[in-house]
């Protein structure tokens, strides 16, 4: 059984049919990427999976359990955490407070402290800036914080929405290195990216999304060689 299974998802914004029957699966331990242009429905897919949008049709299953029956704020308890688009750190809370908020779903204080240590191990920069207000961090640090905050909830799957957005190329590499590292520690990742080159570089498999539909799905290696993908998303002729 796949860890995450999305079946025939239809999501609407008012009358606009944003997702037209998306189906995808993510196996345990994988990095799966969802690539596509602006308005393809990448973010909508992620927001539907974590319950912030309600699908009109279709199912989202985590380890076989249907998640669409739950409220958005209950879904993190099932093991899904999100790193939102544009990072979405709580700008006026400190780094520590942001991380503690990420562990909102955890009951045990010891577990929270243990996770904080783990995050600080992963991102030593955050440890140095622990009592700084998040809004004053640089873009790269905010991305680290958003990732760390999501990991605080001990998720079995991490949804990442455009982690490379607005970052300098060197920093994008750093972020993608940590994605691989987090994955090696056993966290499954569903990664949404416009930067298809980087995303396919770290992912095991990928889906290509266009105007609310999946037009291609294959292993990352094969997608990189696919002529459609090369033309449309990798900028090769």
């Amino acid at each position: 059984m796949p860890l995450l299974e999305v079946e025939n998802l239809h999501t609407y914004y008012g009358n606009i049919h944003a997702l037209k029957g998306i189906s995808l699966t993510v196996e345990k331990g994988e990095i799966v990427t969802l690539i596509g242009g602006n308005g393809a429905g990448k973010t909508t897919t992620l927001r539907t999976i974590c319950g912030l949008l309600k699908p009109r049709e279709g199912r989202v299953k985590l380890e076989g359990e249907d998640l669409t029956q739950y409220k958005a704020h209950d879904i993190v308890y099932k093991g899904i955490a999100m790193v939102p688009e544009g990072r979405g750190v709580f700008a006026r809370l400190t780094v520590m407070e942001n991380l503690e908020m990420g562990a909102f779903s955890l009951k045990s204080k010891d577990q929270v402290n243990k996770n904080i240590e783990r995050i600080f191990g992963l991102f030593p920069r955050l440890k140095d800036r622990r009592s700084q207000v998040a809004g004053t961090l640089s873009g790269g640090e905010q991305q680290m914080l958003a990732t760390g905050r999501a990991l605080m909830a001990n998720p079995s799957i991490l949804l990442m929405d455009e982690p490379s957005m607005g970052l300098a190329p060197v920093l994008v590499e750093v972020i993608f290195d940590t994605i691989e590292q987090v994955n090696k520690e056993g966290v499954t990742i569903l990664l949404v990216e416009q930067n298809a080159l980087m995303a396919l570089g770290v992912a095991h498999r990928g889906y290509v999304l266009q105007t609310g539909e999946i037009i291609l799905s294959d292993s990352a290696d094969k997608l990189q060689k696919n002529s459609t993908v090369q033309k449309a998303y990798l900028g090769m002729e």
Partner: protein, 568 residues
């Protein structure tokens, strides 16, 4: 060099013209003539003269402050230019007003006004004096940049105090008359109107001397709290001092000021509550007066013998009023949870109006008294003492504010406070963290409603009556304004905001019909120059200076990138 200097002439002339325009406006709305009777320094200069000369001084000061690093010669020249330009505009007004009848349009354009503007001299020499004095004002402002900062700061303090004390003569005499041995010496400083010239000189010397001395005092090593024990002792000593001062205020200040303080504290109570809703949780509530009304009316309905065969006492009715407010908070909260920002503001605005109209309606008259309101509301009794004067009720307000401020302060630093802030910062992300936004928003509404309701009950007890017309929209706006003035999300800010916003109109009562003009002008100036509020929350301050932050973040990002590159 040359080009830079010439480019400043134009803005300087503009500033001078603006200053003159302001002075003309203040003259034509009648402030100059009205306040000419009020002397600041008896027989020397009046409030009216301050009003039409101050624009030149202030404009020159702010102009020069912006344009740093000029030669002293240039500073004087620019100051002079601004003063002269402003003076010329006033001269033009006098020439126009004395030769043509402007009264059809400007009712205050009277011969009296022009006498004041020409200092009761014949036209030609009068105009010369006016122009000269305006120029002096401009040059005076430049003078403050030429002398050492320590001296100029002391002089500015001294002048400000002389103006304030002269202006508030009546209030100061009333208050100090209660102070026994001090009353005589204080009174001897003042004339029938304003300060005596000698009194003004004494006050100026005293204040600026003190200020100069305090600024120059080197920080001795003994003053630095080296040990934490000392520091906490100092901390508690400060708090104890403040509490004792607060407890002693009513007998020191007398009835008039106690009444003002009651109003200030009532608004602090409401402000702390709304600060939780707007400042902490980010829910813009424009109908906040509704909860105040519900608190006051519940108290009225339960304790007035008019409506009740068996009326309760204040303390018996208080818990019911509190419960009613919490329930009302939940009732308002439920339908508006899905709304954000402006939409929420409009719905809450409607809620506030609905509550007022229900209280006013004939339909509910048997219960709420309609437009007649409710009278004979019970006043709180402690032991054998009925709290019924402004001074006694002050202590009830003080107690309420103390409890509520403590709760708010603890809430802010609690998990609940941080959760509210997370919802305020980004609701969707907060939900994705597992925060039940419905429950937390309702809690914010209910807490805010409770605090406002408590204020309402004391308000009802103070007046012994409630009327629908005291529950108008302006109350909500005032509370919101005082939070913004004080600093959104900041608890000490609520205190400062309420003191400035609710206290100053009372102190400015002498300005009669002009006080709201002054008050409005103050609000505009305040928001332009200090948008984060008078006592901002440290975090809020960061946010409002986003441009500087962004610049900083840019520098950080560059440093980051180069660090990465060099590490590779």
């Amino acid at each position: 060099m040359q080009s830079q200097n010439t480019s400043l002439w134009k803005p300087a002339i503009q500033s001078g013209l603006i200053a003159g325009g302001v002075a003309v406006l203040l003259s034509l709305v009648g402030m100059v003539a009205t306040f000419n009777q009020r002397f600041i320094i008896s027989g020397v200069f009046s409030m009216g003269q301050v009003i039409f000369l101050a624009p030149m001084l202030l404009m020159s000061y702010f102009f020069l402050r912006k344009t740093m690093a000029l030669s002293s010669q240039k500073i004087v020249l620019y100051g002079l230019l601004i003063g002269v330009m402003g003076g010329l505009v006033l001269v033009l007004l006098v020439l126009l007003g004395t030769n043509f009848n402007l009264q059809a349009m400007f009712i205050n354009s009277s011969s009296k006004l022009y006498d004041i503007l020409t200092f009761n001299q014949p036209l030609a020499p009068g105009l010369m004096i006016l122009l000269a004095l305006s120029a002096v004002m401009g040059v005076l402002a430049s003078g403050s940049f030429l002398i050492p900062p320590r001296i100029s700061a002391a002089v500015i303090q001294g002048i400000t105090w002389v103006l304030l004390v002269g202006l508030l003569r009546d209030l100061i005499i009333t208050v100090t008359s209660r102070w026994g041995p001090l009353a005589g010496p204080v009174k001897s400083l003042f004339a029938v109107s304003g300060l005596k010239p000698l009194g003004a000189i004494f006050l100026f010397a005293l204040i600026s001397g003190l200020y100069y001395w305090r600024n120059g005092k080197p920080v001795s090593p003994a003053q630095k709290p080296t040990q934490t024990k000392d520091r906490s002792l100092l901390f508690w000593a400060k708090w104890a001092g403040l509490i004792i001062l607060l407890l002693l205020l009513p007998p020191i200040l007398g009835i008039f000021f106690s009444d003002i303080l009651d109003t200030v504290f009532m608004y602090i109570l409401m402000g702390i509550g709304l600060n939780i809703v707007v400042g902490f949780a980010g829910l813009l509530d424009l109908g906040y007066v509704a909860f105040f009304a519900i608190g006051a009316y519940t108290m009225g309905v339960l304790t007035s013998p008019e409506l009740n065969a068996d009326p309760m006492t204040y303390w018996q009715a208080l818990p019911f009023a509190m419960i009613a407010c919490v329930v009302a908070g939940l009732i308002l909260g439920l339908p508006v949870l899905k709304m954000r920002g402006d939409y929420l503001a409009i719905v809450t605005l409607g809620f506030g109006e609905i509550v007022r109209l229900l209280a006013l309606s004939d339909w509910l008259r048997p219960w709420f008294g309609g437009s007649q309101g409710i009278q004979l509301i019970a006043q709180p009794v402690i032991g054998n003492m009925v709290l019924n004067t402004q001074q006694e009720l002050y202590y009830l307000f003080l107690l309420g504010v103390g409890i509520v401020a403590f709760i708010a302060w603890r809430l802010r630093d609690s998990r609940m406070g941080r959760t509210w802030m997370a919802i305020r910062e980004d609701e969707d992300v907060a939900i994705a963290m597992g925060i039940n936004h419905v429950a937390y928003k309702l809690m914010a509404f209910a807490t805010g409603a409770l605090f406002s309701g408590i204020a309402g009950t004391i308000f009802a007890a103070k007046l012994q009556s409630v009327y629908p017309h005291s529950m108008n929209f302006l109350v909500s706006i005032n509370v919101l304004c005082l939070i913004i003035i004080g600093g959104m999300g900041s608890i000490p800010g609520v205190f400062v905001g309420s003191l400035v916003l609710m206290g100053s109109p009372e102190l400015l009562r002498e300005f009669a019909e002009y006080r709201y003009l002054v008050y409005g002008a103050l609000l505009v100036v305040m928001m332009l120059t200090r948008p984060e509020g008078l006592w901002p929350d440290a975090r809020r301050k960061l946010e409002l200076h986003e441009e500087e932050l962004e610049a900083e973040a840019h520098v950080l990002a560059e440093a980051e990138t180069s660090a990465m590159k060099s590490a590779k």
